[in-house]
């Protein structure tokens, strides 16, 4: 029988949020896949959980998404407008999160600290994308920028409508679910995006060692 190869991949998603941890007992000794080749095999050359590596033109990139996003200054534009032209260090979360997102942002800062200062801002940017469009208005993101002491030259905080957020989350292979009125469970993924929108690398989990992430970014510098 063909197994579900991707199920094991899912254990790599480290989910975190701010609630109480009650883990349910195991549902069954082994999860059997549905009949008839339920999931296509991921190609062995897949380098990260979601997207095929390759040129943005053939494979597609974040710049192919047609959604519109507002930043913390209420400037509207596509992802290509907001992200294009720089290597971007991207994560998704929500500004009112007390546990996982601050840790995720700490991880992004750790990546920042590993990059030559002359490249910061000019060649590399940092993007935090909200999964909570109801709360995270541009005004709220502006507050969040101040609260978190984000350097405006370095950080872009984005929000859009719920459907566009869902689409981007799916592109990035990110799982999330609203668990209570103001709380989400979500996977923690930091994605490195090339200036042309291609996804280069993904780092999963919090407090992860960014050595591969930094190597990915630095390899882009030498590429010009």
């Amino acid at each position: 029988m063909k197994s579900l190869p991707t199920l094991s991949l899912c254990t790599a998603f480290l989910l975190a949020s701010c609630g109480e941890d009650k883990l349910a007992p195991a549902p069954s000794p082994e999860t059997k896949p549905p009949a008839a080749e339920p999931v296509s095999d991921p190609a062995p050359e897949d380098v990260h959980p979601t997207l095929p590596a390759g040129s943005a033109a053939e494979e597609g990139s974040l710049h192919d998404l047609e959604s519109e996003w507002q930043d913390q200054n209420a400037k509207a534009g596509s992802l290509a407008d907001h992200l294009g032209g720089k290597i971007q260090v991207v994560s998704m979360g929500y500004s009112t999160c007390k546990f996982a997102c601050p840790a995720l942002i700490a991880d992004m800062r750790r990546i920042r600290d590993g990059i030559d200062k002359t490249a910061l801002g000019e060649k590399v940017g940092f993007v935090f994308i909200s999964i909570d469009p109801d709360t995270d208005t541009p005004a709220r993101l502006k507050e969040f920028e101040k609260e978190s002491d984000f350097d405006p030259a370095l950080w872009t905080l984005l929000r859009s409508d719920a459907d566009s957020v869902l689409e981007l989350a799916v592109v990035l292979g990110m799982k999330y679910r609203k668990t209570t009125v103001d709380d989400f469970a979500h996977s923690n993924i930091i994605t490195i995006v090339a200036p042309d929108g291609a996804v280069l690398h993904q780092q999963t989990g919090i407090n992860a060692d960014p050595v591969k992430t930094l190597a990915t970014i630095k390899a882009q510098f030498t590429r010009g």
Binding site: L7, C18, P27, P34, E37, S40, G173, R177, S187
Partner: protein, 260 residues
């Protein structure tokens, strides 16, 4: 005796009704359902909505890609559909032998399904909506308490697949008028990525608690409904650009209050 003008007026009424019937949607009233294997199951409210009576077919999808070339097999970007996209078709614009035009289309990604439905002014159903509609059998809105119903589903899930997806001609309507929610293909839902089941029970129980808090609503307990568990596990194994030989989709739309 109706005058000719009246007859024409009547015909005018009949034609749109006929067109509507071809785009038949089952209407579901607002209600709630119990997600069947969630830890601490609480009924989840579902607003009134409509769902396509039948899954989208090969013929429907062919018409869509004809009009939207970027969704043709040779043109689609990998970020939106993997290399097996529409692989059962003979080419970009031909189904080929052995493919029933009126069979549910499969080997379509979540992005492709969304694009198709957008062009129809519809959307994918949410997990809650799909599950709510799929609680029904032919005669009852909720058949999930009946072990025979679950047994039927498991029988289908256990059947080896393979071969072309058959036409759903002859499939019975469920309580709401939707056909083939079970027994033919699995179907995409809009928020498939909110299903955080790892699908691997040892993974669920042994996961690093430092990194996994708020597991409250995310695990599975009720082993009675293995069928529902399998749907959730399957969804959690998907990614948006995956295409699968037995995974199709159907549309949904909100029911505007004034049309109730």
């Amino acid at each position: 005796m109706p005058r000719p003008a009246t007859i024409i007026a009547l015909l005018a009424l009949v034609v749109p009704a006929q067109a509507w019937a071809e785009d038949d949607m089952a209407k579901l009233p607002a209600g709630e359902y119990l997600p069947l294997y969630m830890k601490d199951p609480k009924p989840r409210p579902v607003k009134a909505f409509s769902i396509d009576a039948d899954p989208v077919t090969n013929a429907d999808f062919l018409e869509f890609v004809r009009a939207n070339s970027k969704w043709q097999r040779s043109k689609v970007k990998r970020i939106f559909a993997d290399k097996n996209y529409l692989k059962h078709w003979a080419g970009d614009l031909e189904l080929g032998g052995g493919i029933a035009a009126d069979a549910p289309v499969t080997n379509v990604s979540w992005f492709a399904a969304r694009a198709y439905l957008k062009s129809e002014g519809k959307r994918l159903p949410a997990t809650d909506e799909w599950e709510y509609a799929a609680c029904a059998d032919e005669t009852r809105a909720n058949a999930t308490d009946d072990p025979k119903f679950t047994a039927r589903l498991l029988e289908w899930y256990g059947k080896p697949g393979g071969g072309a997806t058959p036409s759903i001609e002859g499939a019975a309507k469920n309580f709401y008028g939707a056909r083939a929610l079970h027994g033919y293909v699995w179907e995409w839902v809009a928020d498939f990525n909110n299903s955080m089941v790892t699908g691997e029970s040892r993974g669920d129980s042994g996961i690093d608690r430092k990194l996994y808090c708020a597991g409250g609503a995310l695990g599975a307990t009720d082993t009675r409904n293995y069928a529902a568990f399998m749907r959730y596990a399957f969804r959690s194994s998907l990614k948006g650009n995956y295409t699968v030989p037995n995974l199709g989709f159907r549309g949904a739309s909100d029911v505007e209050p004034d049309k109730e």
